[in-house]
Amino acid sequence: MGIRLLINLVRFVVTYVIATVAVFLFMRAIPGDPAQIALGVNATPELLAKTRAEFGTDRPLLVQYFDWALGLPFGDFGTSYITRQDISPLIIDRVQVSLILVILAMIVALAIAIPFGTYAAVKHRNPSGIVVSGISQIGVAIPNFLAGILLVVVFAVGLGWLPANGWTPPGEDFADFASRVILPVLALASVQGAILTRYVRSAVMEVMSEDYLRTARSKGLGKLESLIKHGLRNASIPVLTVTSVQLAALIIGAVVIERVFVIPGLGSMLLDAVGNRDLLTVQSVVMVLVAITLIINLMVDVLYTVLDPRIRKGA
């Protein structure tokens, strides 16, 4: 297990470093000059030169890269040209919002997917199981921003039950937080739940065809009982893999959902920063997203070994 962890850590660092280079170069390759955007129309060449010097974007690329990248391990992302503020505290503010959104959405998605997926697998020949499976198929096809817009139209604008958008931190006013978080979480979770339902269904169906389940049932256990006692743990490995991949997808989905619901998370910060060509902020937000994804993968790998002793021993 130790070696496995070490290999994973090395992979983590190498991936991270490659990502920093890629993000940095990409932001330099796309057209648009931060100084020009800051000064807007009518900017004179002299003012532009002055602003570029102030932003540091007139320095050689290597200097700019190391100036930024060497601060990353210490959580020092530099100062944004555009907002004139340190980027780290801004990211910490925003990342909390996005994580709340993503984690709640994943919990709700799993709460939908595990029971319904199992049901659809057990009843895969019954009409009721086919209906569940069909509904999930529709859910997979809906992009989450569309789900978000539909939810707003029905529950906020139409029925007036919930606010259409906005955000209140849970520590400030929990009731208001709750009323504002329901729709975006549902928008993310409904689509995720549908996707995961299909994976849970196929994982459970595969387990159900295994010999040991037939043995368990021949010993007199019921279909559901044998599944819960012997099957779910085995089915959980592929589901966990998909969940981790989907968690990363959910973070990306949150970028769009934050826009629809006007939530000040990492996603809105990223989109604003791209629009303003706030290079340092874009680079730093992307690296935080990369780090979160890599950490999820690392954690999932540890969880595999907990769930499946064969993996633990195999390494």
Binding site: I30, P31, G32, D33, Q36, I37, A38, L39, G40, V41, N42, A43, L47, K50, T51, E54, I82, T83, R84, Q85, L90, D93, R94, L104, I107, V108, A111, V152, A156, V157, G160, W161, L162, P163, A164, N165, G166, T168, D173, F174, A175, D176, A178, S179, V181, I182, R259, V260, V262, I263, P264, G265, S268, M269, L271, D272, G275, R277, D278, V306
Partner: protein, 506 residues
Amino acid sequence: MSAKKNHVRLAAVVMAGSLALTACSAGSGGGSADGTASKTGVTLALTGEPVNLDFTTTAGAAIPQALMSNVYEGLVEIDQDGEIQPLLAESWELSNGNKTYTFKLREGATFSNGEAFTADDVKFSIERVKSDAWISSLKKKMDVVDSVKVNSDTEVAITLKKPSNAWLFDMGTLVGAIFDPSGVDDLANKAIGTGPYAIDAWNRGQSIEFATRDDYWGEKPAIQTATLRYFADAVATTNALQSGDVDVVYNMQSPELLSSFESDPKYQVLDGTSNGEIILSMNNKKAPFDDKRVRQAVMYAIDRQAVIDTAWNGYGTKVGGPVPTTDPYYEDLNDVYPYDPAKAKSLLKDAGAENLNITFTVPTRPYATAVSEIVVSQLAEVGINAKIESSEFPAVWLDEVFTKHDYQMSVVLAVESRDVLSMFNNPDYYLGYDNSKIKDLAASADAADEAGYVEGMKKVVRTIVDDAAADTLFIFPNIVVADANVTGIPANSVTEALDLTNLGWK
């Protein structure tokens, strides 16, 4: 780690999750629809949040929109009709061949940090615009100032290098904002002015909250707080209005959403005017638009009323020239190039430009996308095939069109106030208009008396329109949708400021 412990942990997570969900359903009734029930505040929805609070170094309309008139004040202000009114100056006199303005200043005004407003602050602020501290392109509006002399705490004499009508108007815009010398350390994050409001909180990515100042020198606003909430698009703003989260949607960018509000007595719809012109630009220095006849053909080919009706649901003012209706030298120039496709075709024939293929660079803004399609179809009718090329705004558009002049035709909303000269009296501007005919006219108009200024500028504008330098499609409307009980909303957007001072409830 044992499997048992893991189960316990999992159970804890599930418990916490379901607890949170129950709390959600319990709380869903409150806080939503009646969040603005306390009528001591007004919440306005806008699109486009300021990136910081410093308009002395950062361009963009969002910063002065939030701060001018509310936090910062000038010696004068521009009212809803475009007229110059006293503000921090009670009165002024002109002397020295119309070159020296002597302002008598208001007594008892203070900055929100407690410092008193005096003539020294006027000198400091104007000289600061001229110094290296300001890196805004607007700073050149103060180039005409020769000297600022403090006569007493309440009197200041400003001498110009030459008489200028434009300068006093500019003093009512952001370059005329009065700062306190001890309040400029961190302009990007702290705004300290003499205005009726101070910034109470800035929730980045969401809103700016203004609180009324108890020590404001003038008449205090009727409300205690004003909140500007920022949204990514127009749909989100009207959703928030319908669910009661905001009271006013200001400068609405999606007129097709208005129909449901126009017929509902719970709401009011204001059709105000702005100082923004939708300019269909043609690169005057590049073929085919270096030929005046081709530009004229475009002017005749486009039915501007149809553009307004199709692209912007009939909102907007047809003017025919690059001057908003609130400017003193405005006149209706629609008759210079009426809609006349036959004439357009014959001009193109004269110019040898039949079956012309051009590229139309369209910035990624709602108005531009809406306008581009009808323009393309009208150009096609006279034999100009325009290919639309989308250009990310502002980043890519500023780079390609504005800086490198690498375009043939584009369309943009020019929002700066009284900007006809900055657009056309500069051959290096992206429009590339040859200003030799208007240069001297403009200079003598600025130095003339007020009547001479208006007459002179009218001549300048007529020359620009005759030369078909660019087609002003329409004046952008300032559409406001609001709760029917909100009063004092400035319907016209004459300068960059969104004045929150007169807001109140019926």
